[in-house]
């Protein structure tokens, strides 16, 4: 247990905040207001309500038993499913939507998430009927526009990353990561043969890595070894050399800029060390927002990378997805990419712009998803790129880094900045100064909610105690940056003068901190209909 305990931050949510009898709040709320008290849709349900319309059946209605054997038919009449009207649905979701924070409302200073503006124009593009209504198994010749979008996006992403091989099939970053690591595995199997490859099952991962990294490595049959960071927050080259000397290293997964927001200036040397030891380098592209138009992973010696279209390329987070995690790789690794690949036909017989699905890659790792990927996100990402143009893309990167640097400058008098290096698009602080009086990172985050902001990323990366990772993105104006800085400075003062304000925050939301331990001990993961018709609507299934 020891090693893991050393990394666990005791205030990462496991502790109960002290009981408080007198919550201070400036807002007096009526407790029966409609919107905050909206219940579950099942509580609105009334027998006989209908929310839909269908034309009448226009073919002869054979008896169901004739077309489907009775024992295969549903016999529970979908008991428990709601019966509500259209107005019920609209009111229900409109009300509960008001309980959410969102990018349109304000900044999300979430490090590693790149919560930039989700353009409405991109939404319009994705809804163009000729794309929205296109079936994925329609004939290639009849889907040329759709394939062209994929092809063009591939070109742009290949250029941005400096890596020519690309697949847009993965549906999210972690999926793209899994794809990239499987490609490394396939490459080594092919290069060394199965027997020798079996000796190379170690994947090196920095102690600052995102949790998906080791999880993805595991899926490819690798075991994980952790590389230390230096006191400056960069990859420890000596430790890297030491680990590579074992001869069992298949690869290194890293993020650049790393999860501390620092550019790994030794990246070329890092890649050289790993390559010399027979391994490959995978880059987690989550932090590409600091690099677009400025530096290219391909030039750094990286072999394979994944991108997050829902980060760098602004496709909306949607409350938890959908995402899209393209995988880009060097020429050497191209044969292993998932199939099908979207290519341009070279045949003189085909129309000039004929795009095709090509399955002829015998070394491919295979398919990672049905159909071609999260296509709707590709439309949005291409629209993003074309809207920015070559100047706009570079401008976005410059503005993103400037905003982060501006925040770093504004906060460093009040918060401890553990690393002296200049941050790129995100910056990390700790709660060391504030925790003297008992308020910790979690409490600072919760208090920030009372100032109208979504909290920053907390307790990540794990190597920084009480980490607060802040990434404003380019989508925040100076006034809002100043408001954020002022809010954080005010909280810093509160932490020393009146820590109770933080410990019981947030005070201004519809509900306060939830008892997550109780929720995990006795999980209630769905609504259940009441046991008897007269059962009260209180208790865990109602209220």
């Amino acid at each position: 247990m020891r090693a893991l305990l050393a990394l666990i931050d005791r205030h990462a949510g496991g502790q109960r905040p002290p009981l408080d009898e007198s919550m201070s709040s400036n807002i007096t709320k009526v407790t029966t207001h409609l919107s905050p008290n909206e219940r579950l849709i099942f509580d609105r349900s009334q027998t006989g309500r209908r929310g839909y319309s269908l034309p009448p059946l226009d073919v002869d209605e054979a008896s169901l038993d004739e077309i489907i054997p009775a024992e295969f038919q549903r016999d529970d009449d979908l008991a428990g499913m709601p019966e509500v009207t259209e107005v019920d649905v609209v009111r229900h979701f409109t009300r509960i939507s008001t309980w959410n924070y969102s990018i349109d409302q304000g900044m999300y200073p979430l490090g590693s998430c790149t919560m930039k503006y989700n353009s409405r124009l991109n939404e319009k593009v994705a809804r163009i009927a000729n794309f929205a209504n296109l079936h994925p198994l329609a004939a290639e010749a009849e889907s040329q526009g759709a394939l062209q979008v994929i092809y063009e996006l591939q070109q742009h992403l290949a250029e941005i990353t400096g890596l020519p091989g690309i697949s847009l099939q993965p549906a999210a970053g972690a999926h793209g990561e899994m794809t990239g690591i499987m490609i490394i595995r396939a490459f080594i199997d092919a290069r060394d043969g199965k027997e020798a490859s079996a000796q190379r099952r170690t994947m090196l991962i920095p102690d600052s890595a995102h949790g998906t990294n080791p999880a993805s490595a595991h899926l490819s049959g690798f075991t994980v070894k952790t590389i230390r960071s230096t006191p400056e927050g960069l990859t420890d080259l000596d430790h890297l050399r030491e680990l590579c000397a074992h001869g069992d290293v298949a690869g290194l997964m890293l993020t650049n800029p790393n999860t501390l927001g620092l550019f790994e200036k030794n990246i070329r040397e890092i890649c050289r060390i790993v390559h010399e030891a027979g391994g490959l380098v995978y880059m987690d592209g989550a932090n590409m927002n600091a690099l677009v138009g400025i530096a290219r992973p391909g030039d750094m010696g990286v072999d394979v990378i994944h991108l997050n279209l829902h980060k760098t390329f602004s496709t909306p987070h949607g409350g938890g997805g959908p995402g899209s995690g393209p995988c880009c790789c060097s020429k050497e690794l191209e044969p292993f990419l998932p199939v099908p690949r979207i290519v341009r036909s070279l045949s003189r017989d085909d129309e000039p712009r004929a795009f095709k699905l090509d399955y002829d890659y015998p070394q491919s790792i295979g398919r990672v998803k049905a159909f071609l990927g999260n296509y709707g996100m590709m439309l949005r990402a291409l629209a993003y790129i074309l809207t920015h143009g070559y100047d706009g893309l570079l401008e976005a990167t410059q503005a993103a880094v400037l905003n982060a640097r501006y925040i770093a400058h504004g906060l460093q008098s009040d918060y401890e900045k553990p690393f002296a290096g200049d941050p790129m698009h995100e910056v990390v602080f700790t709660d060391k100064r504030q925790s003297r009086k008992g308020a910790h990172t979690l409490d600072i985050a919760k208090r920030l909610i009372d100032y109208g902001f979504h909290p920053m990323t907390i307790y990540f990366p794990l190597i920084v105690s009480g980490a607060m990772l802040i990434e404003p993105t380019e989508s925040v104006g100076r006034q809002e940056l100043d408001q954020f800085i002022d809010a954080m400075r005010s909280i810093a003062k509160e932490a020393l003068n009146d820590p109770e304000l933080l410990l019981n925050a947030p005070h201004t939301t519809r509900i306060g901190r939830l008892d997550e331990a109780a929720a995990a001990r006795k999980p209630v993961l769905r609504w259940q209909p009441p046991a008897e018709p007269h059962a009260a609507a209180t208790g865990s299934s109602g209220a």
């Binding site: 247990m1 305990l5 050393a6 005791r10 990462a12 949510g13 502790q15 997550e516 331990a517």
Partner: protein, 129 residues
């Protein structure tokens, strides 16, 4: 300040052992449960399972963390604390008593002598901080 009873043996992985004849009663220390936070789930082995010293025999979860638990001594599981299924909070409230996890018939009862004493464990945890 975490509680470190004198009559127990300790491991560097924050487990404790109480010797009852040739049976070892094993759990995690007060220091460990403090670090973990509210325990929400404990995964235990089955009666009859055998382990070598320092093998992982289960895991303990809080809301935001999970940690494997290692047996400080070799042996065969004779009993597990099934009440932890419904009341995992016992690990927090009474880590040395009601929060016990497994009982093992020791393969080599002399093994406990190479574990840490209460004083040694206390020094060890202070050094770690």
């Amino acid at each position: 300040m975490a509680n470190v009873p004198d009559n127990l043996h300790y491991s560097k992985d924050h487990e404790w052992v109480r010797v009852e004849g040739d049976t070892a009663v094993i759990g995690i220390t007060d220091h460990a449960q403090e670090q973990l936070g509210d325990v929400v789930y404990v995964e235990l082995p089955k009666t009859g399972d055998e382990f070598a010293a320092n093998d992982s025999f289960g895991s303990v979860e809080s809301v935001k963390a999970v940690s494997e638990i290692f047996t400080p001594v070799a042996g065969k599981v004779s009993e597990t604390n099934a009440t932890l299924n419904d009341e995992p909070e016992k690990v927090n409230n009474d880590p040395y008593g009601a929060g016990w996890m497994i009982k093992m018939k020791m393969t080599n009862p002399g093994e406990v002598d190479s574990l840490l004493t209460a004083a040694e464990y206390e020094d060890f945890t202070k050094a770690e901080e």
